[in-house]
Symmetry: C2
């Protein structure tokens, strides 16, 4: 149980009758070593139960192979999808990304960033917590650690951003609702301290203006970006003298909450009140009714972010182009009484 002092390359060297340098070379897969020697060394490695000490190695090598992923809300499946996309590309690059959750808490985020820096990360992909102060990433910048923002951005920072075209997505969604004949629209959920919020709300507003919806007929209700937030938003909206007949929600979680609240009131989402989500998480398709949502190709954005990160590390730069991902509206059943236009859920159960 009480583990003996752990083996080092010197133990291996002794065991295999070679020098530590040779062992090091073998460990790095250098071609300079004679195959038979390499084999002998590898056997010794196995025998002594050696585990590589990356900390010691990093002491010489300047930068590690650890990439950190800092996520603001792990319980939102949306971010899990993002993470999965990133992992796909890191995996094929032989890198294991470490994920850390900040739970939307800037203080926690500071701790997490500090810890990752101390660990000597090679780069960081971050979806910053709400309320992140402008200076939070100064440390990283002065240390020259490559950072990429995913999905969210900070008001004015030079850090590259990988995000969907929020403005356009919201525009499309609003235009769709207006096209369905809705004249009193609402935007539900989110808070104005988020840049994403500004973008989505901006697209929504632009559509309303362009397509002739009077200013007083658009209602904006801020709220938590969760089911609970959606429920609250709907209650607020329906309490108005002239309530809206359709809503674009900040994200799918809010939309689910809205649909739930509608049902609670005996209203049918889609028929009695149109709701559109944003992000198109996997659940959207499986909801009842299936949720119309703005698809942002989450996993694709994750992959993109990972690629950008890899390139930054490789070229030792801390700069990169922003990348705005294409979006498209996936029309399902939750957005208006006209059901002729609905998409079928992607090929499952059709044979039954």
């Amino acid at each position: 149980m009480a583990s003996r002092p752990k083996a080092t390359i010197l133990d291996i060297a002794r065991e295999a009758g070679v020098s530590k340098s040779t062992v090091s070379l073998v460990l790095q897969g250098s071609g300079l070593i004679r195959p038979e020697t390499a084999l002998k060394v590898r056997k010794a490695i196995e025998d002594v139960g050696y585990v590589y000490n990356r900390g010691a190695a990093n002491l010489r090598k300047a930068h590690s192979n650890v990439i950190g992923m800092v996520i603001n809300d792990l319980t939102n499946p949306f971010f899990a999808e993002l993470a999965v996309g990133m992992e796909r590309v890191f995996q094929s690059a032989g890198i294991v990304p470490f994920i850390a959750n900040t739970a939307e808490n800037p203080v926690r985020q500071e701790e997490v960033l500090k810890s990752l820096m101390e660990q000597g990360v090679a780069g960081l992909i971050v979806s910053p917590a709400r309320g992140t102060t402008p200076g939070a990433f100064r440390r990283l910048e002065t240390a020259g650690v490559p950072v990429v923002f995913a999905m969210r951005r900070l008001p004015d920072s030079r850090i590259p951003v990988i995000a969907p075209d929020n403005h356009r997505g919201a525009y499309l969604a609003a235009a769709h609702l207006i096209g369905k004949g809705h004249r009193r629209l609402a935007f539900f959920g989110g808070t104005s301290d988020l840049v994403v919020y500004q973008e989505r709300l901006g697209g929504f507003r632009e559509a309303c203006e362009t397509l002739g919806i009077a200013r007083r007929d658009v209602l904006v209700v801020e709220g938590e970006t969760s089911r609970r937030g959606g429920i609250a938003c709907l209650e607020t909206a329906l309490a108005m003298p002239e309530p809206p007949t359709a809503a674009l929600c900040f994200n799918d979680a809010v939309a689910f909450g809205v649909m739930l609240a509608l049902r609670k009131r005996g209203l049918e989402p889609g028929a009695d009140f149109a709701v559109v989500g944003f992000d198109d998480v996997v659940e959207a398709e499986h909801y009842m009714p299936a949720l119309t949502s703005v698809s942002v190709d989450t996993a694709g954005l994750g992959e993109r972010a990972a690629h950008v990160m890899l390139k930054m590390i490789q070229s030792r730069t801390t700069r990169a182009e922003d990348h705005i991902g294409a979006v498209n509206l996936v029309v399902r059943e939750s957005c208006g009484p006209d059901r002729r236009t609905q998409n079928r859920p992607a090929g499952m159960g059709d044979a039954a």
Copy 2:
């Protein structure tokens, strides 16, 4: 941009006019240093933009403060909840846990474990991937790294396990269904290579036997532990000559799939076919109809696992007691036509 060579304690020492040892002591918050000296040093640390090199420190200190969390499926909200529970306790211990996803892939799991070991983790909380080979954790054991299994266990290993009482949970659920008058029951989803599966199925079977359900009236359909798996299970079951009228699902994801498939066939979950889930993820309560499920207090188990881990590290042992968490059946709307017994979703929207 091209970061100057990063500052070390020697730079700080020079800047503050003290020795490196003094700086080191300050960094560790030692009381041996005169407050004014400490202040001077701290100022220098700020000035040179120093970041602590934990790798170098670990070279001397033998054990790090990194704890790894290895999770088999990050996209299952269930595991996110588990992670959140653990984070709560680690946070208050000043530890930032690193999460890594294995995506239910044993090969990936090997890589992840290797990487974490090389990083010099102080301990590991693992929910092992399906198909993990018995030897996968031998390395960790010989290295003396404390490991705790969460939710899942391996057939015969001495590694402590934190998990819910699967047998009892399944028993309760089955008994409930039988109490509702169901006589032909099914168990949906999961595969027999999982110990959890054996446990849950075991409880289910015991209830059936004890409460007088004939062997030929219980149907077991293995399948993926996902929505998709649930859909498939239902299709299979309904194709039988005498299909079941109720099912206990391996987990909530499967249950959601089953409900979806029922709807697709024009059947109403709850009224036409009773379905019970397992895990009681947050969505269960918000589903339509709300899902009856076995609640396992996921976050609580996460906390427990973290506590056990902390204790193991502290006492330098690799052994600990198993911990089997209490479960209880949360009856909602998805399990039978008798709606008088249903629970109300926890206090939201009641005022409307």
